[in-house]
């Protein structure tokens, strides 16, 4: 049974479980501590300014929680959490909002959360059911729809957060052309440069995930953020360990030296421990397990009537 672990890469599971433990530990720890420090994130400080500007101009705030083909995932939930905060401020200022959803499940969740926000503020009469919309689940149809909304409604502040792809620049430039103040964050690193070129404020990388902790200061979120920082330190140490261990194991060794020794007939040299290739080092073997193809496990056989029938599926 233990041999099965070879196929799973036990060390990566161990590292992940360690990180989860660290995060959960810090969540528990944060409950007893007040005023934990989080550094300033410019894009999030600008939210109040952006919504206030939109209110002065009498133009709506537009929010896009990203494009995801799967049902609601963690990135979309994070975006909707940030938009809930934005909507709270907009509700207090009686500023109209527009939330454009790419996915039907995102639309459902966003609608519920935004309505709850208005209800908590006691301003349910200001809530417009059509402010949260499902535009399209086709990438460029969605981009065209949102670009059209930005131009027609003359949005004064736009928030693009979540998974964005090629349409990121279309949305950002369109918003720029109407003079909107823009705060953006993409979980896809390929799109971050486009947002940086076109938007006023950009949250890079895991600043997006730190946003909800920064805005709400809930102990769970702040503790989780501290746990994430500890995990990053642990990974940094792992990298340093890997560099040191690989440097020691690869020192003075290469397959070229073995070949050279063989050609020169230096048999004594060949009897020494074989110099490592990169794939032979300890760290490489731990982190890149090679599933054993030739291990034969003796298992009992199924009888013919226990054999699974072929399943049925649809046409493509």
């Amino acid at each position: 049974m233990g041999q099965n672990y070879l196929d799973n890469g036990w060390i990566s599971i161990l590292i992940t479980l360690f990180m989860v433990t660290v995060v959960l530990f810090n969540i528990l720890r944060a409950h007893g501590v007040k005023d934990l420090f989080i550094r300033r994130i410019a894009g999030l400080n600008a939210i109040d300014e952006a919504v206030g500007r939109a209110t002065e101009m009498g133009r709506p705030v537009l929010m896009v929680p990203g494009l995801t083909d799967t049902a609601v995932n963690a990135k979309t939930m994070q975006a909707i959490n940030i938009f809930a905060h934005v909507s709270r401020i907009a509700a207090r200022f009686a500023n109209p909002i527009l939330v454009c959803c790419y996915n039907a499940s995102t639309f459902t969740v966003a609608q519920e959360i935004i309505r709850d926000v208005y209800q908590e503020e006691g301003l349910i009469d200001r809530y417009d059911v059509d402010s949260v919309r499902f535009i399209s689940d086709r990438q460029f149809a969605f981009a065209a729809g949102v670009a059209g909304l930005i131009l027609r409604e003359q949005a004064a502040a736009t928030f693009f957060m979540g998974e964005f792809y090629a349409e990121s620049l279309i949305l950002a430039e369109t918003a720029n052309s109407v003079g909107a103040i823009q705060v953006a964050s993409s979980t896809e690193l390929t799109q971050t440069p486009f947002f940086i070129a076109a938007c006023d404020y950009v949250l890079i990388g895991d600043e997006f995930y730190a946003a909800s902790a920064f805005l709400t200061r809930q102990p769970v979120l702040v503790g989780s953020l501290i746990g994430q920082d500890w995990c990053k330190l642990a990974i940094a140490w792992l990298i340093v360990m890997g560099v040191v261990s690989n440097s020691i194991q690869l020192k003075g060794g290469s397959s070229n030296k073995v070949t050279q020794a063989w050609k020169e007939g230096k048999v004594d040299q060949l009897k020494k421990p074989r110099p490592f290739n990169m794939g032979d080092t300890t760290m490489s073997r731990w982190l890149n397990p090679d599933p054993a193809k030739d291990i034969k496990i003796e298992r009992p056989k199924l009888s013919p009537d226990e054999m699974p029938p072929k399943g049925s599926g649809g046409d493509n």
Partner: protein, 319 residues
């Protein structure tokens, strides 16, 4: 009181910083469109990743099978269609069978069928073997749940083909398990490679979940930086990125690798001589769009330099 035109009072620096957008767009349109009518072959040095991908695909033995994940549609046909065409040309000439599936977009299976048919017709017109659907390749179709499908492919490949049907030539749909393409394929490890042709984040989905087969990616130009990290760490065995990547493959197919000649392409990683396909149709969208890429990049550089010169002039005037 005379109304003064604000534009007339602008200094040279301010004018250089405020070129109207329609002018920029018109110049770009012309510079990108004109080379399409006057194709020209430009010199090119393929990058290591393209060379390694070419080497690996050319080393595939005849009769082997490759799994292709085709996650692109016509919106990225400038890059992805060129990549797919280059890949299909090599696979068809090496007589390697392939199975195509999609996890990104419902349009993608039809787009990939059209591309395969086009290249098959091109090969047949040149007097070579014509690839037949169901006999030589399969298109399994679209799977909506990308993460689950990728896990199922790695875990139990037969479950994702179970019950699927494809169209043999001029015939009604048949169960794909009856196809000779899937003969001997019990798990994903029986494929020689998984090649992902994509313009979206399905590369991450595949990298996270499929571990039993070596992978190569064919991505858009914008995805090259993030794909490079996986190539550098050895998680993928080569990749082709954007129009440059397509032109790299076309150049390699035309000139071969380490082949003596005026256009010799030398690999720093290997001295193996790979002849390529001289005398055959090797160029396509790479050669067609590479000059346009040149002009577009040139205009981009010119625009950036113009803006910065304008900024410095305006600062000097103001200082």
């Amino acid at each position: 009181m005379a109304i003064t035109d604000p534009a007339a009072n602008k200094s040279l620096g301010e004018k250089l910083q405020s070129v109207p957008k329609p002018v920029l767009y018109l110049v770009l349109f012309m510079l990108a469109a004109i080379p399409l009518f006057f194709p020209v072959k430009l010199p090119n040095k393929p990058i290591d990743a393209s060379v390694e991908m070419f080497t690996n695909v050319m080393a595939l033995p005849e009769g082997s099978t490759v799994l292709v994940e085709s996650d692109w549609t016509n919106s990225t046909r400038g890059e992805s269609m060129g990549e797919m065409e280059a890949l299909l040309r090599i696979l068809m000439r090496k007589k390697v069978k392939f199975v195509v599936y999609t996890i990104a977009d419902p349009q993608a299976p039809q787009v990939s069928r059209d591309t395969i048919r086009k290249i098959a017709d091109e090969e047949a017109k040149a007097g070579r073997y014509r690839y037949k659907p169901f006999e030589d390749y399969l298109v399994l179709g679209y799977y909506p749940n990308g993460e689950g499908t990728a896990s199922a492919i790695n875990n139990k490949f037969v479950s994702i083909v179970s019950g699927k049907k494809d169209w043999p030539e001029n015939s009604a749909p048949r169960d794909v398990s009856l196809s000779p393409v899937l003969k001997g394929i019990k798990s994903v490890a029986d494929f020689k490679y998984l090649i992902v042709v994509t313009a979206s984040s399905t590369t991450n989905t595949v990298l996270e979940r499929i571990t039993k087969v070596p992978m190569m990616f064919m991505v858009t130009g914008v995805m090259v930086p993030e794909t490079t990290t996986y190539y550098a760490s050895g998680q993928i065995k080569g990749f082709c990125g954007g129009v440059k990547g397509v032109y790299d493959l076309e150049t390699l197919m035309e000139n071969g690798l380490n082949v003596e000649g005026p256009n010799k392409i030398v690999s720093e990683k290997s001295t193996e001589v790979i002849p390529g396909f001289p005398g055959m149709q090797n160029t396509g969208k790479g050669m067609a769009y590479y000059p346009s890429l040149h002009f577009a990049l040139f205009l981009l550089i010119l625009a950036v330099v113009t803006g910065n010169v304008g900024m410095f002039l305006a600062k000097r005037k103001g200082a």
